[in-house]
């Protein structure tokens, strides 16, 4: 699951920064914008089967790759 999430992020953000620094803030660094987060939610649903409504999750809860993985582990 960890790898799946990291691959997803790499593709959506278009850079491997997310793999090298798993505590990078995805929003402040500009890697994930409104379109990016929408794509992320769709792919999480398609590939991991976890359905997350847009206002179900606060941005702070998933602002770094590590936090996102932690959040998804809890939701599974």
């Amino acid at each position: 699951m960890e790898n799946k999430v990291l691959n997803m992020l790499e593709e959506i953000c278009g850079t491997d920064e997310v793999k090298n620094d798993r505590d990078i803030n995805l929003f402040e660094s500009g890697l994930l914008d409104s379109l990016g987060i929408t794509e992320l939610l769709i792919r999480i649903e398609e590939e991991l089967g976890i359905e997350i409504a847009p206002t179900d999750v606060e941005r702070e809860e998933i602002e770094t790759p590590n936090k996102l993985i932690g959040y998804l582990n809890k939701r599974r």
Partner: protein
């Protein structure tokens, strides 16, 4: 009466706050007193006008029936169409109020109807998403008709609000809320009654009436700064007042004039509104468009999403042409910024350069001010 408009309002507000503050400082629950005080403040704000009172009561009852009913229906039906019908019904009063000048000479509605409507629509959508399953009617009433933010926001979210009012604060926690609240109220008062008033009296009012290019540019900057201090000041007053009631109403402004690009600006200006549009229109539209593959490129989906979102944002302010143009102007800015940032290798090379950031901030400031010039209606 218009909230935060004069000494009389603040006088009554301070007196009404005394018992609540005493309760809070003793570490006792403040919710019940807060609810009674809310009702009393609503009477003060709307009681003077029969039409406003009737409209408010009708609006509230209608929304209550819709939302309560939907909680019940949602357990049986998941259909997205049911949700859409409920959203349409929920917006109907606002549409009637906005359209009323075209078919009646009456001024119907109440101050804040366009803001309160956001709160019901948001609840309906979250009920559909399965995020809201139950709520108490008292909490709902307090949320929907919360006086500090009823007339012009900030637009709060029901789950956040209801969590706040059901917290019991210790003495120290309440004291921190109170301090923060008072501090914000002072800042808000300074913004609204000193800075915005000074700009209005000594700058805007002194601009000659002739609409020359120079006067127009002058008005553009004056109006932009006036609008910021007036609205940010009002928002601080609302947030501060909420704090004293133990409610952490979200901030509405975060130094918008230092935004480094237009997307950054919408994370800093009228935040509760722009996040509402982001969460309940843009994201949902794009999600659907991508899942159903309506467009070849995901960027097209995103751009159409921006046009819809910003278009609705414009028209929500009013049906006048300058509001619609304001929305479309911002859609155009966001789309071109996004396009430029994705395609330009020059941008990618320079985006972390300090000089570039100053330039980008200055350009953004001017683009934003030009937007406010459109918004003000001065050009038409």
């Amino acid at each position: 009466m218009i909230p935060y408009s004069g000494l009389y309002f603040f006088y009554i507000l301070s007196i009404a706050f005394i018992p609540l503050i005493l309760l809070g400082l003793k570490g006792k629950p403040i919710k019940k007193y807060g609810m009674i005080m809310n009702l009393f403040m609503l009477l003060l704000l709307f009681g003077g006008s029969k039409i406003q009172t009737v409209c408010l009561v009708l609006f509230y009852s209608g929304q209550l029936v819709l939302i309560r009913g939907y909680i019940y229906l949602r357990r049986k039906y998941e259909s997205i169409w049911l949700m859409r019908i409920l959203v349409a019904l929920s917006i109907l009063p606002l549409v009637l109020v906005k359209a009323s000048p075209y078919f009646t000479s009456w001024t119907i509605g109440f101050l804040g109807i366009s803001y309160v409507t956001f709160k019901s629509v948001q609840m309906i959508i979250e009920i559909h998403d399965g995020l809201i399953k139950e709520f108490s009617i008292w909490d709902f009433t307090y949320f929907l008709l919360f006086f500090p933010s009823i007339s012009s926001g900030p637009i709060d979210r029901s789950r956040r609000f209801m969590e706040d009012i059901n917290k019991t604060f210790t003495k120290d926690e309440y004291k921190r809320y109170l301090d923060e609240g008072i501090r914000k109220i002072f800042y808000g008062a300074a913004y609204k009654f000193i800075f915005s008033a000074l700009i209005s009296t000594y700058w805007m009012a002194k601009i000659p009436e002739a609409k020359s290019i120079l006067n127009t540019i002058n008005y553009m900057y004056a109006y932009s700064l006036y609008l910021f201090f007036d609205f940010a000041g009002y928002s601080l007053l609302a947030v501060g007042t909420s704090h004293i009631l133990g409610v952490n109403t979200p901030e509405n402004f975060d130094k918008p004039f230092i935004s480094k690009d237009i997307k950054d600006f919408w994370n800093r200006w009228h935040i509760s509104l722009s996040f509402w549009f982001r969460d309940f229109i843009y994201t949902r539209f794009v999600m659907r468009a991508l899942k159903k593959k309506w467009f070849k490129s995901r960027y097209t989906a995103s751009y159409i999403g921006y046009i819809i979102t910003m278009g609705v944002m414009g028209i929500w302010h009013g049906t006048e042409i300058h509001y619609i143009l304001y929305g479309l102007y911002h859609a155009l800015l966001i789309i071109s910024t996004d396009f430029f940032q994705r395609k330009s290798s020059w941008y990618k090379k320079n985006k972390n350069n300090e000089g570039f950031n100053y330039l980008s901030t200055a350009v953004t400031f001017n683009l934003v001010c030009f937007g406010f010039l459109i918004f003000s209606g001065y050009l038409f």
